[in-house]
Amino acid sequence: MEEKRIGVYICWCGTNIANMVDVEALSKEMQSLPNVVISKDYKYMCSDPGQDIIVNDIKEYKLNRIVVAACSPRMHEITFRKALETAGLNPYMFEMANIREHASWVHTDRNETTGKARDLIAAAIARVQWHESLEKRIAGVNPATLIIGGGISGISAALEIANAGKQVYLIEKSGTLGGIAAGIDLTYPFLNSAKQMIDHKINTVMNHPMISVYLNAEVKPEFGKKIVGLVGNFETTIKSNGEETKLNFGNVIVATGLKPFDAQKVINYGYGKLPNVVTSVDFEKILKSGVIITRDGRVPKDIAIIHCVGSRNENYNAYCSRTCCMTALKYVNQIKSALPKTNIYDIYSDMRAFGKGSEELYSITSRKNMMFLTFDHKENLPQIKQASYEDPFNLLIEFKEKFSGESIEVPADMVILMVGMEAHDDAKQIAHDVGISLCGNRFFIERHPKLDPVATTTDGVYVVGTCQSPKDIPDSVSQARAAAARVLASILVGKVEVEVTTASVNEEVCCGCQTCISVCPYTAISYSVEDKVSKVNEILCKGCGTCSSACPTGAIRSKHFTDQQILSQIEGMMSASKSKKNLIEIEET
């Protein structure tokens, strides 16, 4: 076996680490550990000059293993692995000790923190001894794309990809495409017809040679999971109008959209009991029907609009749904143009008018003959009551007007509740099916809130539209098209790096007990009857390592997380504190 020559590099991270950890002392100390050839500390290891130190040392001292003690490997592991590659060393001959997020940033005693950092670095050094070169594996990318959800986001993404000449499978659980947007009458801020916009797109999709649409479609679970495989090579079976189709594709775009807030949850508003209390969703229908009349067929003399229904309130949803304010203003304009004589009361908490043309819409609207009233969206929400017979109006809204501070009563023949957006009830299931996670509000989590808002932590799976967070049509569309661009890019590259740290079976030792088979969530392990051993399909394996822990014979190795590596890491970690403990005990005795 080749001689082990380890280089250890401890990062100051400016003052981030150096303030709380005695990096100089440590780099001296580490010099003395077995197989450590060189040990250095430097202000910013991740900087170009920092990386150059490593690259040069590898060449100069013939290092074949590198340990960097700095920030979290989730931050810079890739960076340093690249550095190793540049120096012609296999990137997996590298181990990182996290002495920033797990030490300098979270502790207050410099000695203790230095001690802990020592243990973490010693552990990394002990571990890296057993690292082995792993060869990157490349897999082709299936040019087809699966898009889940036929709303405006799904449609936009589909067209973007299909127009580039790539196959798209668009699956929609309802019987029609268009989703929520298709239910809208006019769009804000320019009050164009949503119908014209959508219908045209739906037609193009339905007749597009590169798009196969599956309506009333559901994904059929296999092995407890609905979509198996990984970036570049997914597969699934869908059921559409009763018939099953097996699909293979390289990327997935999740565009499952939103669910309107259920207004009945807010008892104050009596939705569902008081016929003339309607939600914004209902009101879009009324608008599309062309005539604005109350349930009992009268032309409303007074119409009230209440904002933030189910939004920005701990009892319902803490977040703002972003679109309701402008939609409300859109209503004011549409009502005014249809029924100029009708009085309109817009009861809001804060008017949120960001984005192109929105502030303009607000000022135009406010000049119309209508009344803005404010309420406290957190405490004492308005109370809607049925008015008595003698009253000339149908409903009565009682609430504390925030500006005046007076409790007032507003009469209305119709009240429109601006309901917010929610994630679908089956969001969790969908997340599980495609292998992504949910945030606290049950919207899908993007890989990075700022720098990567379309991708997810699962390669080849993208989230777009309102299933990722509440947004309006332009935001949804741009996110959808961004995702499409990402997908097209990966198809263009044509190949992806497949997980290297997979499991492998030592067939000399495997006894064929088959304990591992059912353990694998990706059905990557199968039993070979002729060889009487288990075999791992490394394309399907994602390297979770559960099988190697389940293997009673020690035949399955989890690459880069072998027993040997982890056990040495533990021993290295304890080496220092062990002697310390013995000291304590000597003192005690």
Binding site: C510, C511, C513, S518, G554, D563
Partner: protein, 328 residues
């Protein structure tokens, strides 16, 4: 090695010794039956307390490395065992830890759940048939009217051979299957290439399941852990798939599946396959994985049915395992 008069291949010098053992290992040596003569042709037994007229002093007198092969069976339970282990190490070229006790601690190693005092108290004081009003305990040195009597020091815990001396090879089993011994012996006698030092000989790398005739499937899901007498064993289905704990998957083959063929689950006397330090821990990991529930309470209940995890998963390997004794 000295030459025989007729100047043929020199005969091997063999020694067999036992520490804390039951004698089963020696019987396994004797059970070569008729082929005994084939063995005695190639080798001379230079030390075998149970069979030969050789005393400790004769061993002391031997030059270092005089003995070619020593089969040391039994665990290290007392000062005499340890003394003899060290002595024989010096006098032997190839020291073989023979049998489960020398290999991993074996059944006597179960004593590591207790310490000397607990064991003495039970045996010499509280045992129902013992009448010991003076609370007499065996003494390492005792003065009788006629003179001094000595017996060895009883240690607090049991150790496998490699905890007191450096072992060259391990020949596992309780007892080792005689056929395996003969194979190994012939290999040594014929000067065949031996595996690298410190490795296991006389056993296969693959675990029991590889040779097991019982039907195995991937359906290793356990809803209830059962004890052998709680099932009607069909004699055909994998024990684990019947809810019976079987150490087979974490145990080397080489014994010929003897217990399983007798319809009893494997208890692991042949020790772990290569690269595993602690078969018990591996088997716990595997068995845990098989538990067919994700509900903490249900899991707890299933685990509760494992009456004696330490004594089951470590039946033969406690002193050689990671936690080699109970912490008292």
């Amino acid at each position: 090695m000295e030459k025989k008069e007729n100047g043929q291949k020199p005969k091997l010098k063999l020694a067999v010794y036992w520490g804390a053992a039951c004698g089963g290992c020696c019987v396994s040596v004797l059970d070569v039956h008729e082929s005994l003569f084939a063995v005695t042709e190639k080798a001379d037994f230079v030390f075998w307390p149970i069979a030969l007229d050789i005393k400790y002093n004769d061993i002391k007198a031997m030059p270092d490395g005089y003995i070619d092969v020593t089969l040391f069976n039994g665990a290290v339970r007392n000062s005499e065992n340890e003394y003899m282990a060290k002595l024989l190490r010096d006098k032997t070229k190839i020291l073989v830890a023979y049998g489960s006790c020398a290999h991993m601690g074996g059944i006597p190693g179960l004593a590591n759940f207790f310490n000397k005092d607990e064991i003495f108290n039970r045996v010499y004081l509280t045992s129902e048939t013992t009448f010991n009003p003076e609370q007499t305990m065996p003494q390492t040195e005792y003065e009788v009217t006629e003179g001094k009597l000595h017996i060895p020091v009883f240690f607090d815990d049991v150790k496998p051979l490699n905890h007191v001396v450096c072992v060259d090879y391990y020949l596992p089993g309780c007892p080792p299957k005689t056929e395996r011994l003969v194979e190994v012996f012939m290999a040594i006698a014929t000067g065949a290439q031996l595996p690298s030092k410190n490795s296991v000989i006389g056993a296969r790398d693959k675990a029991q399941c590889d040779e097991c005739d019982r039907k195995k499937t991937e359906n290793k899901k356990i809803n209830k852990i059962l004890r052998p007498f709680e099932i009607v064993d069909d004699g055909e289905t994998c024990f684990l798939e019947q809810g019976i704990i079987c150490m087979g998957p974490a145990t080397r083959s080489g014994c010929g599946n003897r217990c399983i063929k007798g319809n009893a689950p494997c208890r692991g006397c042949y020790g772990p396959p290569p690269d595993i330090t602690d078969p018990g821990a591996k088997m716990m990991s595997a068995l845990g994985t098989m538990i067919d529930s994700n509900d903490p309470i249900a899991i707890k209940e299933i685990v509760e049915d494992i009456a004696d995890p330490a004594g089951t998963f470590y039946r033969f390997s406690l002193p050689g395992s990671i936690l080699r004794r109970k912490i008292l």
